[in-house]
């Protein structure tokens, strides 16, 4: 090897081609310099835009001349740089980028004299002709592979996987022709080494290939995770994790691995991945949410609630987003995040709601009450309103949130606070409620017809009654229960209602089951209130009604039997028992009722229901024997 390496001496450029090359290299340097400054600012964006425009200008200059072999490597490199910068700035692939690629390929074919009549070829055919062209110069290959990797990225991001597989097969030559496995094809694609004197690129072919590979593995892993193909999801996600992931992506991949392992029944391994995800340390929310699900599955409530608490905190922290790197990165090739995805964490208030409702469901009433009050304050205070949207769509609507808060407060033994929450709800929505003047007028006219009210109004009265009852104020409690019942018997279930202004908020409709259960709950509550003021006949009426409304209701039946027994009306009790036995022995159907109602109904269970029923059974048999 007797070649002398001549150091690059700055000298006058010999030709236009050199000039253009220098311009390209200068622009690449500028872009790299700009990329180092990570703080996002409009100035940076404008500078990047300027560089992009200069690349565009350079490309126009080059493409203004007839395609020529010596200029082709530079032209392709400039095209690649232009596309990379453009996609990075737009944070996606604009549709017309395909035209840039197509134009370049056509110019390559022009130099091969192969274009001729086949001008109307599609991209697929163009790639085929270019890559199968026999007279391609070896120095053209690196730039061509770079362009091919950009094409691969574009096809991946637009879900043209069939085209992508064909392109990769062509690029790899004939060895793996039969393989349809994109992952394998991507792995076996080796781009030719770049020449030391080649014009600079922002991102070379092999780097781009790695990005496409990782992005593909990630996409595939996720898809398989959602469709439930867990083992292959695991391997795809492992592939993605071993690739060149940016840190936020790595957190997602580790979390997805955790989800996958949890579903496969290896919670310990899942926990390891979640810990790893937390250690990456850019975003904590996805692994925390996943951890809460994992602990819930394991039945470890305190760890679950702890994770949710941390999640709410993690979501409250605002972090400054990083500026785009001016390169094509993995996240550019991924589909838009979907709220239905298992990694979607939602907002802070959604996390808070999850925490509060889980506390309530887990029977930690005091904690639940505190969290509900926190959440309401967050939503209503308006100190920093814009970062705290309401928990819907996944969660309940706002009035239900109030009701759940009130239920939690009652359960936590804070009836006074519950009353405050209820009053707040009614006062804030007073404009939506029927005017009081109408109510009064109807009363004056003697018409008992009451206007329809939203269901939550009745529910509020129910909870208010319960709160008063807890405060040992039977008079108030009775009046609230009665008002609740009056409203409830006016309400029309959703499916029976005639269509009225369907585009507007259905203020007055509710589900059938919820309405029925609300009525039962109100009747039993009032009955119990009568019982405690020892007015058993009135109580009996209410219990009887509750059983009539919902024949299988165990609580109502037990209270009815108890009252009948107390009133010493054994025959009626026996008759009822015979009739109700069939209903009662059946498993109670699992209703889906709002959480506040579920909580409320749990209060109504008689403490020793089973023993009571057994007692009846035996006493009945005895009486029968007699």
């Amino acid at each position: 090897m007797s070649h002398l390496i001549i150091p690059a001496v700055p000298k006058a450029p010999a030709s236009c081609l050199d000039l253009w090359r220098q311009k390209n290299d200068r622009l690449v340097h500028q872009a790299r310099q700009l990329a180092r400054d990570t703080s996002p600012s409009l100035r940076r964006q404008r500078l990047a835009q300027d560089i992009l425009e200069k690349f565009r200008g350079l490309l126009h200059t080059l493409q203004g001349l007839p395609a020529a072999v010596p200029a082709l490597p530079l032209e392709l490199t400039v095209t690649c740089n232009f596309i990379i910068l453009r996609a990075s700035l737009a944070q996606g692939f604009p549709e017309d980028l395909t035209q840039d690629i197509q134009r370049s390929l056509e110019r390559v074919l022009e130099t091969q004299n192969q274009l001729g009549p086949k001008l109307e070829q599609g991209l697929k055919e163009l790639w085929n002709s270019v890559l199968h062209s026999s007279s391609l110069l070896p120095e053209l290959l690196p730039a061509l592979h770079c362009l091919a990797s950009l094409q691969a990225a574009l096809w991946l991001s637009t879900d043209h996987l069939g085209d992508l597989a064909l392109l990769l097969q062509t690029l790899n030559g004939s060895q793996t022709e039969a393989s349809e496995n994109l992952l394998l094809l991507l792995k076996s694609w080796s781009s030719p080494a770049e020449m030391s004197d080649a014009p600079l690129t922002l991102q070379n072919a092999s780097a781009l290939r790695d990005v496409v590979l990782t992005a593909f593995a990630y996409r595939q892993g996720f898809q398989e995770l959602i469709t439930g193909n867990l083992p292959s999801a695991l391997s795809s996600l492992h592939e993605a994790a071993s690739g060149l992931c940016p840190q936020p992506m790595l957190v997602q991949v580790y979390t997805a691995l955790g989800t996958c392992l949890r579903k496969m029944g290896s919670p310990q391994k899942a926990l390891l991945y979640l810990t790893a995800a937390l250690k990456v340390g850019t975003t904590w929310a996805p692994p925390l949410l996943e951890a809460s699900r994992l602990y819930r599955q394991l039945g470890d409530t305190s760890a679950e609630l702890e994770s949710l608490k941390l999640l709410a905190e993690a979501l409250s922290a605002t972090h400054n987003p990083e500026a785009p790197k001016l390169l094509i990165e993995v996240d550019l090739l991924l589909p838009q995040p979907d709220p239905a995805s298992p990694l979607h964490c939602g907002t802070q208030s959604q996390a808070k709601y999850l925490l509060a409702s889980r506390c309530l469901q887990a029977g930690r009433a005091e904690e639940a009450a505190e969290h509900y009050l926190d959440l309401l304050a967050l939503l209503l205070d308006g100190s920093e309103p814009r970062f705290s949207p309401p928990p819907s769509p996944s969660g309940p609507c706002m009035p239900e949130l109030f009701l759940e808060a009130a239920a939690a407060l009652i359960q936590a033994g804070r009836p006074q606070d519950a009353l405050t929450v209820c009053e707040e709800l009614l006062s804030r929505t007073s404009s939506l409620l029927p005017k009081m003047s109408w109510l009064q007028e109807n009363v004056r006219k003697g018409t008992r017809k009451l206007p329809h009210c939203p269901l939550w109004v009745s529910a509020t009265h129910l909870l208010q009654g319960q709160a008063w009852s807890q405060l040992k104020a039977p008079k108030e409690a009775l009046s609230e229960f009665s008002q609740c019942l009056e409203l409830l018997f006016q309400a029309v279930p959703k499916d029976k209602e005639q269509g009225s202004g369907s585009t507007y908020e259905d203020l007055y409709s509710c589900s059938d089951v919820a309405l029925q259960q609300l009525r039962v709950a109100a009747l039993i509550s009032r009955g119990l209130e009568w019982v405690s003021s020892s007015q058993d006949t009135k109580a009996l009426n209410d219990f009887l009604l509750s059983v009539q409304i919902c024949p299988g209701n165990r609580d109502g039946s037990v209270y009815l039997l108890q009252t009948l027994k107390r009133l010493d009306r054994k025959n009626e009790a026996t008759a009822f028992w015979r009739e109700a036995q069939t209903h009662l022995l059946k498993e109670e159907a699992a209703w889906s009722v709002p959480l506040y109602l579920e909580t409320y109904l749990s209060w109504l269970h008689p403490p020793n229901c089973e023993t009571l029923l057994e007692e009846f059974q035996t006493s009945l048999l005895e009486s029968h024997d007699l």
Binding site: G382, F387, G501, T503
Partner: protein, 879 residues
């Protein structure tokens, strides 16, 4: 509304072409004495009403689409087309402005044009189509390739370092394709979406904002009803959005705050309130009933108006008004009404007193939605608490072509002052005192006389502008009506007389003529106007030439040529002649029969659109954009005539020398002399000889014959052919539409030798025969027509043509009720059975042709030809 007195003041003139559909998104805003104005071009003007002069002109890189002023912060937000959103800090600008004017004191320019600093661009986005600023949030609407996308940002401030990543939320609106494509690539979209913000009652954001413009407060009931309990409980602002496709949708702002990792779910966030089915151009709100506080003791000056009625206006004038009311049982229900106002609506605005002003190219109208409006139902005043008028009666203010409007913040007490920009670029104020009586003639003093005269002159100018526009429109409409009337008369005349001579007729004749060294069969259609109406603009003669499919191509459907010839003023009694070539084509093939049909077409669009579209697009910028409401069938079509050209009409007889036109014609397609020479020079056994000559040489000529009873022929030919033998009469009858018929008649020929269009020989022989074995009553006298040609195709065509004539003749005769002689049924049955068998064979052979390979298909084809030949020479006689 007796005295809708208006006084118009002319402020200044922006001598700039505002028109053209591409421009035309002018805006005007008013704050205290300052008026901010964009004319649809790339300038934003600041005009000082007190000083009466322009104080600044800002130049943007592209058309300005929208302006919004955030008054308390003295910040002006400007949406620049295909560029993005700019924010100008007015205070710092006025400082730099005074600086600039000091520097350039010696120059004459009253206000320097300041190019806007690119640093003032706070949100660069080429697809941005609309925005609105609420509190400290910025809501934008961008146009994606398939969807509108609403985005929520922290409001960028002019002084601060802007944060490009300050996006808080995002949701996609509708899935329909926005018209006009992506603005970055194609021309500007015709209509921009409209955004406005609805605040819940009691919020404090409105203070200092220009009232009633893009931001208003709704009363509790309507707010809750429209946007739901969640929005009410959260006391969240709601963004209303009117899209060019007519959708009116809303997004609760607090719910739009989405997590950074995913956009919002449109199903949960976006609620469609209504669909106007035409581009939404304005959304506003009104107070139609006195506010409770007001009723009690007058509204405090600083108090916010809680509007109780939401209005949305479509481009064609369709108007939606929504109010909340209570039904009989006391429930809150929406009251929703649609009205139709005169369109196309250029712009609209609501004032604080329940009036809505909307501008069309011809007028500025005011609509009263309050209870004291004219159409208020006076019979049952106590029927409902709320209520909307059943119809709207717009009152004209006699100002035309206002392209943008706003309510002036310096309104005089007891009235409204509008600030308007006319299509010609005039900024005017319009003071309205809608409730007062017409002011009596005031005493004129010397001091105000000049002012008064100026005002009057301005009024006159405005009225004359309006008059000229209306006059032009009326003229055009009159013209269109006259034209439509004539068209109506013509249509009636043509359609009422289906039989017999029609007032407007079209006759078609055919003749051979020589064109470019080729013999071409020409059809001449003569349109004759025998009616008393003239055919004017809008009428078109439409001729369709339909050739039958080629004999060689079994499945071919034949080709159709259509010719449309505009009938440009055909006065009564005149005629127009159109000559069209029918063939043969370049390859020498003439696929007979050819059908020539003529219609008259009348295009409604051509006539009516002239009247509806403006002649001067600069004058009425928006008129062009609205579609014509023409009926679906935009064309009236009147059939005139139909003529079938068959083989018999195209035969030429060079042997009959007495026809000079034909004698000069060379038979067949033209042949170069050289070609002829070369052909003769060819060796006798050469394969290159044409197939036709080969066939002529080696194959016997194809023949076909038809027998018709002499009685039948005699009966149908009795008139007009007396003195001729039956054979000659028959031949004359067959060639009646041929040019050679005169020669045939003159020489009383009974057989004739001619040339087919493609040059092959052709022989037509008519002779009398006696058919013996058919009738028990003895032989039947019959005429046999024999067709002979060396070309099978020509023979077939001629046979077909003769059969067609026979069919017509027999149907005519059948109508006369002639009775056929007795026939020997046995014999007929036999013939019938024979034919059935032949037809079956044809069917099987044809099937074979389709399925079998080449060799066997060749034999099948041979057989088929044989069978066809038998079929063509039946032993039957037409009786």
């Amino acid at each position: 509304m007796a005295g809708a007195a208006s006084r118009v003041h002319y402020l200044t003139d922006f001598c700039c072409p505002l028109g053209g559909p591409a421009a035309g998104r002018p805006r005007v805003l008013c704050h205290e004495p300052e008026v901010f104005l964009s004319t649809g071009r790339e300038f934003v003007y600041v005009y000082d009403q007190e000083g009466g002069q322009l104080t600044a002109v800002f130049q943007f890189p592209d058309q300005v689409w929208h302006l919004q002023l955030l008054a308390p912060r003295r910040a002006l937000y400007v949406l620049c087309a295909r560029t993005g959103l700019y924010c100008l800090a007015l205070d710092s600008l006025s400082r730099s402005l005074s600086q600039a004017s000091e520097d350039k004191e010696d120059e004459d320019l009253p206000s320097p044009v300041i190019p806007v600093d690119p640093d003032a661009c706070v949100l660069p986005d080429a697809t941005l189509c609309a925005f609105t600023v609420v509190e400290d949030m910025l809501i934008t609407l961008v146009q994606g390739p398939t969807q509108w996308k609403m985005q929520l940002f922290e409001r960028p401030c002019p002084g601060e370092e802007p944060r490009p990543e300050g996006q808080i939320g995002e949701v996609e609106l509708s899935t329909c394709t926005p018209p006009g494509g992506v603005p970055g690539k194609s021309a500007a979209p015709c209509f921009l979406p409209v955004l406005c913000c609805v605040l819940p009652p009691g919020s404090r954001a409105l203070h200092g904002q220009p009232q009633g413009f893009e931001c208003f407060m709704l009363e509790e009931a309507l707010f809750g009803l429209l946007f739901g309990a969640d929005a009410t409980l959260l006391q969240s602002a709601v963004i209303l959005c009117g899209l060019p496709d007519g959708q009116l949708c809303c997004v609760v702002l607090r719910a739009l705050v989405t997590s950074r990792s995913a956009p919002g779910d449109p199903k949960a966030l976006v609620k469609i309130l209504h669909h106007l089915e035409e581009p939404v151009v304005f959304i506003g709100a009104l107070r139609t009933e006195p506010q409770p506080e007001e009723a009690a003791g007058g509204l405090l000056p600083g108090e916010d108006v809680h509007s109780d009625c939401l209005v949305a206006l479509g481009h064609q004038g369709r108007t939606l008004a929504i109010k909340a009311s209570w039904n009989n049982s006391g429930n809150l229900v929406p009251e929703l009404r649609e009205y139709c106002l005169p369109g196309p609506v250029l712009c609209a605005v609501c004032d604080g007193d329940g009036h809505m002003y909307h501008s069309t190219p011809s007028d500025l109208c005011v609509v009263d939605l309050t209870r004291n409006g004219i159409s208020w139902n006076l019979e049952k005043p106590d029927q409902a608490i709320g209520g909307l008028p059943s119809t709207l009666c717009p009152d004209s203010l006699n100002i035309c072509s206002v392209v943008t409007l706003c309510v002036s913040s310096r309104a005089p007490t007891g009235g409204t002052e509008l600030l308007a920009l006319s299509a010609k670029g005039r900024l005017i104020t319009c003071s309205l005192d809608l409730n007062s009586e017409e002011p009596g003639p005031a005493r004129m003093t010397m001091a105000n006389a000049g002012q008064k005269i100026k005002e009057l002159l301005l009024d006159i100018g405005d009225v004359s502008e309006r008059v000229s526009f209306l006059k032009k429109a009326v003229d055009q409409r009159n013209k269109a009506l006259t034209s439509l009337n004539e068209a109506m008369n013509v249509s009636c005349a043509l359609l009422s007389r289906q039989e017999g001579a029609r007032p407007i007729s079209c006759t078609t004749t055919i003749a051979w003529s020589r064109l470019e060294l080729r013999d071409v069969l020409m059809a001449t259609c003569v349109l004759e106007n025998g009616s008393s109406f003239s055919l004017d603009q809008g009428w078109t003669l439409y001729i369709k030439v339909l050739t039958s499919s080629s004999a060689l191509d079994l499945d071919g459907a034949g080709s159709t040529f259509t010719y449309t010839i505009p009938v440009d003023r055909l006065s009564p009694g005149s005629r127009r002649e159109v000559t069209l070539p029918l063939g043969p084509s370049e390859s020498g093939v003439l696929d007979l029969p050819v059908t020539v049909s003529c219609w008259l077409f009348y295009s409604l669009r051509e006539v009516v659109s002239g009247a509806l579209a403006p002649s001067d697009p600069l004058e009425i910028p928006y008129l062009e954009e609205y579609p014509l409401n023409l009926p679906k069938q935009e064309v009236v079509c009147l059939p005139l005539c139909k003529r079938t050209v068959d083989m018999l009409q195209c035969l030429r007889f060079p042997s009959l020398a007495s026809s000079p036109a034909q004698a000069s014609c060379l038979p067949g397609p033209v042949r170069e002399h050289v070609e002829t020479f070369l052909e003769t020079c060819q060796a006798p056994h050469s394969d290159l000889a044409g197939p036709a000559s080969l066939r002529a040489k080696y194959l016997p000529p194809s023949t076909a014959s038809i027998r018709v009873s002499a009685e039948l022929l005699r009966a149908s030919l009795e008139d007009g052919h007396s003195g001729f033998s039956l054979c000659s009469a028959t031949l004359q009858w067959l060639l009646a539409e041929n040019v050679a018929v005169d020669v045939v008649r003159a020489s009383a020929l009974s057989s004739i030798q001619g040339v087919a269009p493609d040059g092959t020989d052709f022989h037509l022989i008519v002779r009398e025969v006696a058919v013996t074995d058919l009738s028990p009553a003895g032989p039947i006298q019959a005429v046999e027509i024999q067709v002979e040609s060396s070309s099978l195709a020509d023979m077939c065509r001629a046979h077909h043509a003769i059969i067609r004539r026979m069919q017509t003749m027999i149907t005519e005769q059948a109508a006369h009720g002639s009775s056929p002689p007795d026939l020997r049924m046995q014999y007929l049955h036999q013939i019938h059975a024979n034919h059935q068998a032949l037809l079956r064979e044809v069917q099987t052979l044809r099937d074979q042709l389709c399925t079998e390979d080449e060799v066997s298909s060749y034999t099948a084809a041979q057989k088929l030809l044989q069978v066809y030949k038998q079929l063509r020479n039946p032993s039957l006689v037409l009786l």
